[in-house]
Symmetry: C2
Subunit: 366 residues, 2 copies
């Protein structure tokens, strides 16, 4: 395994990729932005620089293959890197589509996958939504963890001043879930069992498996994730978030990378999303996604109010300076059933302090 994988990004996803690389003994180098926390000070091989063609090209020349922890490299740069011979995995086109909500919706239409209905407005051209409040605005690019998401509750609420936005109805959602898929260079696809997500303020706070989806919906979610990965000729791990509306799956969002909804695979599955992402990118055979145990992950968010270290869960701290609404760690509990795991994970997260965990009890589905 003499290959060296270059990872663009140095936050918690990079940190967990690093842990997987250590176990596989697969060489990794991280390309981080100035001040980025997560792998700096931990991994031996970290390069710092801006997300510009010239520097990323040099980085690409220093490694065998380049992959991504985030979607911050712009379309043009991605395409130029690939045209210049840098081996991107996933390739530029997959990253471009996977990190653009408009392109995602069009892809779902092409694939016959039901997705959240939308209209598009260009605020740079002064366009205004025709919808009647309440509705949601989602930035076409750059939204995550509640960023790039606006709820317009009444006609007096201010619209964003610029940019391309999707205008979406607020759906009556029965549940939220996600399916994570890994696709190898040879086209082999593996999916993990879907997870149930509990979101607050657009931020994933909890992920759990098994999800409450029945066998048919569960299989459908996995098939949908697989079909998206195949359509994108994807290499690596990709996550698809769904709403369950009136007993049907509706695609909400695609993330062209390892994702918060897959963190519980570290302990809960035979092979984690992080290891399979590296295996895929490095052209190694993918590992089994078989679940080991029911598992619940709860994020540690923002400034910890308490800071006790729990003893009955797996703790993952990211080495990040706490800031409001910032994910600084997570805990995962395994148990014989998902509700017991949920209790353990929530109790541990409360013990460690942080935001939103106390509000998980608020979430009630129809």
């Amino acid at each position: 395994m003499g290959l060296t994988v270059g990872v663009v990004g140095g936050g918690q996803l990079a940190r967990m990729l690093f842990e997987a690389a250590l176990a596989l003994d697969l060489h990794v180098v991280f390309y981080v932005r100035p001040g980025e926390e997560g792998v700096r000070g931990w991994a031996a091989h970290v390069v710092e620089g801006p997300l510009r063609f010239a520097e990323l090209y040099d980085f690409g020349q220093s490694v065998d293959v380049v992959t991504f922890e985030h979607e911050l490299v712009d379309e043009r740069t991605l395409r130029d890197l690939e045209a210049a011979g840098v081996d991107l995995a996933p390739r530029a086109e997959a990253m471009v589509i996977g990190s653009n909500k408009l392109y995602q919706r069009r892809l779902c239409d092409e694939l016959g996958l039901r997705a959240v209905p939308y209209t598009l407005i260009d605020r740079d051209a002064g366009e205004t939504p025709r919808a009647t409040p309440p509705y949601l605005l989602k930035a076409v690019r750059g939204g995550y963890d509640g960023r790039g998401l606006r709820r317009i509750g009444s006609s007096s609420d201010e619209l964003p001043r610029e940019g391309l936005w999707l205008v979406e109805p607020e759906l009556a959602v029965d549940a939220e879930c996600a399916a994570v898929v890994a696709r190898g260079r040879d086209g082999t696809c593996v999916t993990w069992e879907p997870v149930e997500l509990r979101m607050l303020e657009g931020i994933c706070v909890e992920a759990a498996w098994p999800s409450p989806l029945d066998a048919a919906l569960s299989a459908q979610a996995r098939r949908a994730a697989r079909s998206i990965a195949v359509a994108l000729d994807f290499v690596g791990v990709l996550a698809v978030e769904f709403f369950v509306v009136d007993g049907e799956l509706v695609v909400n969002e695609i993330a062209p990378r390892v994702h918060n909804s897959g963190h519980l695979t570290i302990e809960g599955a035979t092979t984690s999303q992080f290891e399979n992402h590296l295996r895929a990118v490095a052209g190694l055979p993918l590992g089994s996604t078989a679940p080991i145990s029911p598992a619940v992950m709860v994020n540690l968010i923002g400034a910890p109010a308490a800071s006790q270290l729990p003893s009955d869960v797996r703790v993952h701290r990211y080495g990040k300076t706490p800031r409001p609404r910032r994910k600084v760690g997570h805990v995962t509990a395994l148990a014989a059933d998902v509700e017991t795991a949920r209790q353990h994970a929530r109790r541990a997260a409360r013990l460690m302090g942080g935001e939103l965990v106390d509000r998980l009890e608020e979430i009630r589905f129809a």
Copy 2:
């Protein structure tokens, strides 16, 4: 957790301590010998130097607490470091006793623990064993993975030329097992369920839990490990290897550190031996040792004949150049029962190649 832990040693145990430190976000610096492989090139903070007082003292001054991956620092240096104010965990006395087979046996006598019977010979003084072959010679210091172990099969076999050796009978062993204990700075002790070991040529090749010990023997093994940790006022993780002879436990060896018999705790237990070692050393509360699943670990030893990457087990590669009889990695399989896990782990280890795994089937107990 602003503490920085200094780890003397940079091999696979250091590497797995590093993985645990990453998850805990506990700062670690490794002190490695020239050429040592495992953490160099992976961890950001690695210091290289000889195992001498002056350099180790400087290392100790640069961190908050010093712990050990190996028993290679000599008695005098350990005691001098502690006298000079370096915070050693485990403390010098515990390391000295724990890394000297003669002192270990004396400790077992004091504690009323049955251990392998022995006599002592000083080859520097030309002493010869009174025993009739076959018998075993074990170096009082420095033996591991078959090193420091000699079988004298007939009176014509050559004796070692120098050093202190224990002379031991070859026992008719029903099984081999080990108990791993973690003890915190506050005296809190936790033990993991005992593991069964399968050894070849003095090298641990396989570890499995649950072990075939009945509940009484299992509890007795855990109590023995605990009593040794308490007697040594130990801080950190310590392993005790036992023979089962005529249905009774006989202490064979003590290791004053994280140990091969505890590798399966990474996936098989709520908290791994590596994490609990760091928690203990850093004065953090110890994590639960509750088993998650039956688990079997098989070591990858020496030069891999094949090099396929299996997909149904957890793979740990150590970043070490293969050499005959050198441990370069391990795999761990979890399954609903230990025999299924054993089959998966052995099959995966064979797929990856390496030595001794094909000979595991030879091992038959009375």
